[in-house]
């Protein structure tokens, strides 16, 4: 167990170093000069001398790249990710505010797409070759070829423009102070983006679970269960769920990167004020500090997902769990 923790901490540190370096180098070599690009901006104009100096130290071309990187890294480790020029606030604060919206959106999509995809996948796999299976498979292949932002546009046309059921954008009604936003309002604005993200997320998990189900259904132990008189449904309940749920949850945790990527596009389509929208704004507006901050936050999220997937795998599979225990005892 101690070894498991240690390996993962090392992995995390190495990966974060890599991610931060790549991110920093990428935003730094950009021909979009942040100082120049932001000269006309209110944030830059209202900045104190000290802040400007700090900005120059971060992004200024005078300082060598690696020195700038270590300056930035040192500050980042103490929690200071710099100032967002676009939002005129510390990057950490912008991320914290926006992350809540994004996490709500992603959590809903994560759960809905996971549950739906899992069920569709299991039944498609267990009843392979039937009409149901073919419909599920067709749906999944079609969705895998559908750009998520286009699907968002489609839902927007149907539900917001034509039917008028949902608002056209933003996570809260315009002109209402955030303290007055009711939970229902929030849900109302969350519904369409979450639906878009859920519908696309189904494809991956359903196809994967379908394959796994086919594997399980042709496994020796299912053959044996059949020979003992169990029906397909009973086999799914007795052996299917047990053997299929973990791969599905693992995959779902491991696909956080895709859900995050999807949320960037969906947030843009629905003007949903989350991290994704902020990342796009930062990228278009030359807000290097915010862009780097969001990139690192997303990488941490992805790493967290993968880590949970790994841990869950060990906890549930008795072969791994028992071996862990015995190796600890030794």
């Amino acid at each position: 167990m101690a070894r498991f923790v240690l390996t993962n901490i090392t992995k995390f540190v190495l990966l974060m170093l890599g991610v931060s370096l790549v991110t920093f180098v990428l935003v730094s070599i950009s021909p979009v000069d942040p100082v120049q690009a932001n000269v006309g901006q209110a944030a830059y104009a209202s900045m104190g001398e000290e802040k400007r100096a700090q900005l120059a130290a971060y992004w200024g071309a005078d300082t060598p790249l690696f020195e700038r990187y270590f300056n930035w890294l040192g500050a980042a480790l103490s929690g200071d990710l710099g100032m967002s020029l676009r939002y005129n606030a510390p990057v950490a604060q912008v991320i914290a505010e926006r992350a809540l919206n994004s996490l709500a959106l992603m959590a809903v999509a994560w759960v809905v797409s996971g549950a739906l995809g899992f069920l569709l996948g299991i039944f498609a796999g267990a009843y392979r070759g039937t009409v149901f299976d073919r419909v599920v498979k067709g749906y999944c292949y079609l969705l895998a070829s559908t750009p998520v932002f286009w699907l968002g546009l489609l839902l927007l046309i149907v539900f917001s423009v034509q039917l008028g059921w949902f608002p056209l954008g933003l996570s809260v009604p315009i002109g209402v102070a955030s303290s007055n936003v009711t939970f229902v309002d929030a849900l109302h604005h969350l519904a369409l983006p979450a639906l878009t993200l859920s519908v696309t997320g189904v494809a991956n998990i359903a196809l994967h679970t379908r394959e796994k189900t086919i594997d399980v259904m042709s496994s020796p132990y299912v053959r044996f269960a059949r020979s003992r008189g169990l029906s397909t449904l009973r086999i799914l309940r007795e052996h299917g769920l047990r053997n299929l749920i973990m791969p599905a949850i693992t995959l779902q945790f491991a696909s956080i990167a895709e859900i995050f990527g999807g949320s960037v596009l969906v947030e843009e389509v629905f003007s949903y004020p989350g991290l994704g929208q902020a990342a796009v704004t930062a990228g278009l507006g030359g807000d290097a500090a915010l862009l780097a901050g969001i990139a690192i936050f997303s990488a941490m999220l992805v790493f967290g997902g993968n880590l949970i997937a790994n841990i869950l795998y060990g906890v549930v599979d008795p072969r791994i769990a028992k071996r862990e225990v015995t190796s600890d005892e030794l």
Binding site: R223, N243, P318
Partner: protein
Amino acid sequence: MTMARSKCEPHGNAQPGVKPTTESTQSMQDPQALHDQPRSRHGHAHAEPHGHAQHLHGEFHHHHSHAHTSKHPGFHHLLTVEGLNVAFRMYDPQAPFFRAKQREVEVIHDLSISVHEGEIVAIVGASGSGKTLLADSIMGLFEPNARVSGVIHFNGERVGADALRQLRGNGISLVPQSVRYLDPLMKIGRQVEGVGRSDRDQAASRLAKREQLFAHYGLGPEVADQYPFELSGGMARRVLLCCALMDEPKLIIADEPTPGLDLELAIKAMDDFRAFADEGGGVLLITHDIELALRVADRVAVFKDGTVVEETDVASFASPDSLNDPFSRELWYALRFEDMPQTQAPVEDRTEGATTAPAASLPSREEG
């Protein structure tokens, strides 16, 4: 033998419409029968009063044999399989790639075998030659792309695909080969208990039954809380047997139940099956191991090229003269490390066109 035969009545007569005789006129060595039997035997199977299968074969004078333990209570067999064919659709592997047509490949053709109460019948053939398909067919487990036909009787009843499905775990039980046939994520106890065919109110009685079986087969109570990967080979074998016995079967199909055991251990392991048979059950032992088959079985069916070429009493293996099929005789010589006498040329392998002389390639025992 006499006793067995008298119980075996009424043996089907070859000619339709002719009532079964009260005393079997067909004995193992009756040369007359050889000429009497028409090639097709299926025409009669349905007309029989007890759905009793015919003991007829065009090539062997007696379609199946009897050992002294074979019993025919109620004048019928426990299991008869007649004219079983299993074919698959696949691309012709020999044709050029783009011109290859899909065709049906018969893996089992015209196979017949029977099991009496109280006996172990061994079906012996090379691994991967389709013996497991036979087990699957008897349990009504069919591959989606398979075409399966044949006449199967169980306990005197003609059984179709639906009835075979009903018999799984409810008359016929499988003892599989290895621990791979257990769900790796389910505890042994629960797995052996199973859920039974009907309902959960049985749970308590199944638990009691499982504990009783574990006690009988020397499996400690702690085994119930273990997972399959923790079982030793010998434990796994007993656990798998317990799974089958939970459902109180009349017929056990044992598919290579002693993989990797050396002969003496394998024979000892077969004691449990012997005990089951002695209490009136029937065992169909599927194996690639002819030595094991000859030591533990009452009768042996030699499986080759997708069919049973000879089904005979183990005693017939005492001498090559009592074996009818050339391949069985080859086996006889192979077992004694002797060459076939020159007068009996080795048969040509139909598929390969190569001569198949077992003696020349007598392999060592290996894991199934």
